[in-house]
Amino acid sequence: MSLRAGVLRALGTVFDPELDEPITDLGFVGRCAVGEEGDVEVLLRLPTPQCAPNFAFLMAADARDAVGRVPGVRDVRVELIDHYTGREINTAVARGEGFSEAFPGETRGQLDALRELFQRKALVARQGRLLASVPEPERACLGELSGPDAVRCRALRLELGIDASDDAPAFVRGDGTPVGSDELVRFRRTASLTALSLETNGGMCRDLLAVRYQDHDTEEVAV
C-alpha cells in the first residue's frame, strides 16, 4: 500500500463525533498532500464557518493523531480552513495541546465527557438499525450481529467500557445496561429517533458543504 493510501485509510478512521460518520465520507477532508519525505498536509473543511468548535477540534486532533501513527509519516500538519475559530484550533492542534489550551477561560475542562455523551447516542442509534436483524432481540448476543453497524457498535462499546464479547447481550441502553423484553418497544422508538437525528444532521451537513464548496454530491441518499 502506498503511503498516500495509508494516510487516507487512517483519515477514514476519524469519525465526526457528533454524526458518527468518518470525516472522509462526509467530505470534510478537502485536501490531503503527501510529500516524498513523508510530510503530510491535511486540509479540513466544514459545512459552516460556525460549526461547533469542540467537535471541530476533536476531528482536527484525531486526524493529526491517526495520520501520525501511519508508518512512514514524518510530519503531519492539519489545517482547519474557513472556520471562525480556525486560528485557535490550528495552533493548539499543531502544538499537541488540548482543547482548554486552545480556548483559555472558555471551557471547564477537556472534551472527554462530550465525546462520551455522543458515543452513547451513536451506540443507541446504531443498535436501532440492527433490532430487526434478529428474531428475539432481548435474547440475542453481540456475536449474532453482523455488518458495518455491528462492527461500529462493538468499537463504541469497547471505547465506552461496555462488554463487547461475543456472548454479551446484543442490545444495551446508552449506559450499558441490557434492554429487557418489556423495554423493547420504547427502546426501538428511542433508537430510531436518535438514528434519524444523526442521519438528518449528516444530510444537512452534506448539503451545506456541497453548497459551500460547490460540489455536486447533493443526490438524496437512501435512508
Binding site: P49, P53, N54, F103, E106, G203, M204, L208, R212
Partner: protein, 350 residues
C-alpha cells in the same frame, strides 16, 4: 388566506425576518464574521427549490416590497411574527433588530407582530428596553438567541441566575410566548453547544405562565427536543428549517422528521414558520398542503396528518398562542369534543 384546490387556509407565520446584512452594515473589525454569517444563511437558502433562489447580493438585504410580495401577496400570510436577531458585535445597526422590524409594522398594520428580546448579560438596560418596547407595542412574545456574542462571552443559558428576573418580568407583563433559537456557540465551549436542557428547566418552572416555542425543533438535537416536548405541556415545535431545509432537499428525512414530531409532540403543538428571507413562504405552504406520509412500511409507525391537522399547523395553533382571531370560515370543522356554540353554527352554515 392561502387558497389551494378551491380550499382556503388561514396562515400564521411564526418566524419571519427582515434583516440587513449588506456590507455597509458589517461592523469594522468583524467583517469576517458578518460575511460568514450571511453566507452561511445563503447556503441554507440553497436547499430550497432552484426557482426560488436569490443572488447573494439580494439575499444580504431585501426590501419591504420584496417582503410584501413574498409574504403577503404570494403566500397569503394572514398574520406573521417578526423575530429579532441582534448580532451587534458583527453588524453595526444589528442584523435584524427590533427597531428595524418595527418599520414594517407601520407599513402593514394588523398583519404583523413584532417580538421583543432580552439578554440577561446586558442587565438593567435590557430590562428597561423590554419594558419600554412593551409599553409602546404591547409585546406578545420574545425571541431569545442564547448564542449571541457579547463582550467576550459566547452565549448564555436560560437557567442562568441573571435570566430569572427577565422571565418573571414576562409573566408580570403578560408576554406569554418565548421563542428560543439555539446556536453553536454556547459557553462553555466544551459542552454540547446545542444542549436544550435549560429549556426543559425553565419550561417546568413557568408551566401555566409561559409558552416555549423551540425554533427549528431543536435541530440538530431533535431527539432531545422530542423527549422533552412530550413531557412538557407548554413546549411547542417551531417548524422553521424543517420545511425549508428538508422538504425539498431531503424528502425522505422530511417524512421521518414529520412522523417523529407528530408522534412525540402532536399536531396541536407544531407551528408553521417560513424563516423568511431564508426561504420564500409560498413553496413551503404549498408543499405542506400537498404532503402526505408515503404509504411505505418504514413509515408505518408514524401518525398521519390530515387536512385539519395541516390547518392547525399552518395557522390555527399560532393564532391561538398569540390570541389572534381567525375568521369563522377559515377555522375548519369544530373538534368533536368541543361543544357546538351559536357562533360556530353560523360559521358552518356560512
Amino acid at each position: 388566506m392561502y387558497e389551494k384546490d378551491g380550499k382556503q387556509y388561514y396562515i400564521f407565520d411564526g418566524h419571519l425576518h427582515f434583516w440587513d446584512a449588506s456590507p455597509e452594515n458589517w461592523k469594522p473589525g468583524a467583517e469576517e464574521y458578518a460575511k460568514g454569517w450571511i453566507e452561511c444563511f445563503h447556503a441554507y437558502h440553497g436547499l430550497g427549490p432552484a426557482d426560488t433562489q436569490w443572488s447573494l447580493e439580494k439575499f444580504q438585504k431585501y426590501s419591504a416590497d420584496d417582503f410584501e410580495r413574498d409574504v403577503f401577496v404570494n403566500a397569503g400570510t394572514d398574520c406573521g411574527v417578526l423575530q429579532s436577531t441582534y448580532l451587534r458585535e458583527w453588524y453595526t445597526d444589528g442584523f435584524n433588530d427590533f427597531a428595524r422590524n418595527v418599520t414594517l409594522l407601520e407599513r402593514f398594520p394588523g398583519k404583523l407582530i413584532v417580538n421583543g428580546r432580552f439578554d440577561p448579560r446586558e442587565g438593567q438596560a435590557s430590562m428597561e428596553q423590554l419594558e419600554a418596547d412593551h409599553e409602546k407595542y404591547g409585546l406578545k412574545g420574545v425571541k431569545l438567541y442564547t448564542a449571541e456574542w457579547y463582550q467576550g462571552s459566547r452565549g448564555w443559558k436560560m437557567t442562568d441566575d441573571a435570566a430569572k428576573p427577565f422571565f418573571d418580568k414576562l409573566v408580570e407583563l403578560g408576554i406569554r410566548n418565548v421563542h428560543i433559537h439555539k446556536g453553536p456557540t454556547i459557553w462553555p465551549l466544551d459542552k454540547d453547544a446545542f444542549d436544550i436542557t435549560d429549556v426543559d428547566h425553565v419550561a417546568t418552572d413557568y408551566n401555566g405562565e409561559l409558552n416555549f416555542i423551540v425554533e427549528h425543533v431543536g435541530l440538530p438535537r431533535i431527539e432531545d427536543f422530542c423527549f422533552m416536548a412530550t413531557q412538557e405541556p407548554n413546549v411547542y415545535a417551531g417548524l422553521a428549517v424543517v420545511l425549508g431545509g428538508l422538504m425539498h432537499a431531503r424528502p425522505n428525512f422530511f417524512n421521518k422528521v414529520m412522523g417523529e414530531l407528530l408522534f412525540w409532540v402532536g399536531e396541536d403543538k407544531i407551528l408553521y414558520g417560513s424563516d423568511y428571507g431564508i426561504w420564500e413562504p409560498k413553496w413551503q405552504i404549498d408543499g405542506l398542503l400537498e404532503w402526505e406520509m408515503p404509504d411505505r412500511p418504514e413509515y408505518s409507525d408514524y401518525p398521519r396528518l390530515d387536512e385539519d391537522g395541516k390547518r392547525k399547523i399552518l395557522g390555527l395553533n399560532g393564532a391561538k398562542l398569540y390570541g389572534v382571531e381567525v375568521p369563522e370560515a377559515l377555522r375548519g370543522p369544530v373538534p368533536a369534543e368541543a361543544p357546538a356554540s351559536p357562533e360556530s353554527a353560523v360559521g358552518v352554515a356560512g
